[in-house]
Symmetry: C2
Subunit: 194 residues, 2 copies
């Protein structure tokens, strides 16, 4: 019962505490930017800074918890066939494409797709935090701190599964940045169960 997110688009949905969210990469080497908000108060949002701090690691995988800005568990990674994701970079946006890629007429990117998807819940552009970038492969140089965006390690059909630890609004994209997906825009699949 997989739903498909077409290339360069996004979606949002409610996920109840205890439900599982599967995010799958049907063709391989694609990224899905994920953000989450507490449905009862959307000012509580997924926090890279808290999650990374409490894990003591930049790269999160099975059994790691994605915490909110209020230090409450939001999602736990319960299964991870890929094992490499990014939690440092903001969603790609018109500004990303303008500043990094030098595009004159930039695509609205994952940021634009997340904004559109989350508008029905009253969540605006300023409310979108650093995303948990599912399958995004960012290499880090220990000495210089240099970041290199590499093709994702995800092979066709591989997935990562998250369990909701509170009632959530979740938004997901099929990423719009060429660098993130080896310059071929592809869909992302997801399913909700439980």
């Amino acid at each position: 019962m997989m739903e498909r997110i077409p290339p360069r688009s996004g979606t949002a949905f409610e996920l109840r505490k205890g439900q599982l969210l599967t995010v799958a990469d049907p063709e391989g080497e694609q990224v899905s930017d994920m953000v989450a908000f507490h449905i009862a108060d959307t000012r509580e949002y997924i926090s890279s800074g808290r999650s990374i701090d409490y894990a003591g690691r930049l790269f999160l995988t099975t059994d790691d918890i994605l915490y909110s800005n209020r230090s409450n568990p939001m999602l736990t990674i319960v299964e991870d066939e890929v094992g490499r994701h990014d939690f440092t970079l903001t969603p790609c946006s018109r500004d990303t494409f303008r500043i990094i890629y030098g595009d004159d007429d930039p695509h609205h990117g994952c940021q634009g797709n997340l904004e559109q998807a989350l508008a029905p819940w009253g969540i605006g552009s300023d409310d979108i935090p650093i995303a948990f970038n599912v399958f995004m492969h960012v290499a880090v140089d220990s000495e210089s701190g240099q970041l290199t965006v590499l093709p994702p390690k995800s092979k066709p059909g591989q997935k990562t599964v998250f369990r909701a630890e509170m009632d959530l609004v979740v938004a997901l994209t099929a990423c719009s940045a060429g660098q993130s997906n080896n310059f071929r825009f592809k869909p992302i699949d997801y399913a909700i169960s439980g």
Copy 2:
């Protein structure tokens, strides 16, 4: 004309476009968590995700720009005697001390100090983003992504200087987390000029 921030406390002030902010470590090995907001609309705030993405580096230093969540330059690092800061971790908080240090009666940390300092501008706890942690030394392992908080590289009297690229409210702390400052709480000095 240095102002002193006592150990385990914080302050906030307005910084006009073009003014310089000097942050100095009078005794060495101390950290100052810094956040900034656009004074005309405090929903525009300093963004680690945007800044790191546009620099292509985790570690920012001279000539690097601290961008806002709206991708506008907020502060430029114009002089940096230390050269190592962190931009991945949220300010230490009651939750940090509870979760990481196991404290039963935790200090309110930099998060609490930033909240108190920013209250006069109507900036609340949910509005405080990942800070630019001046002088904080976090080692990153390239393979595992493991983060290790080490004593700062700052020697007594060393400083980093920022230029405001818009009118700002800035908050600074003298950090309250033992791990960040080699387990000796110290003051931080700052000066505004121009």
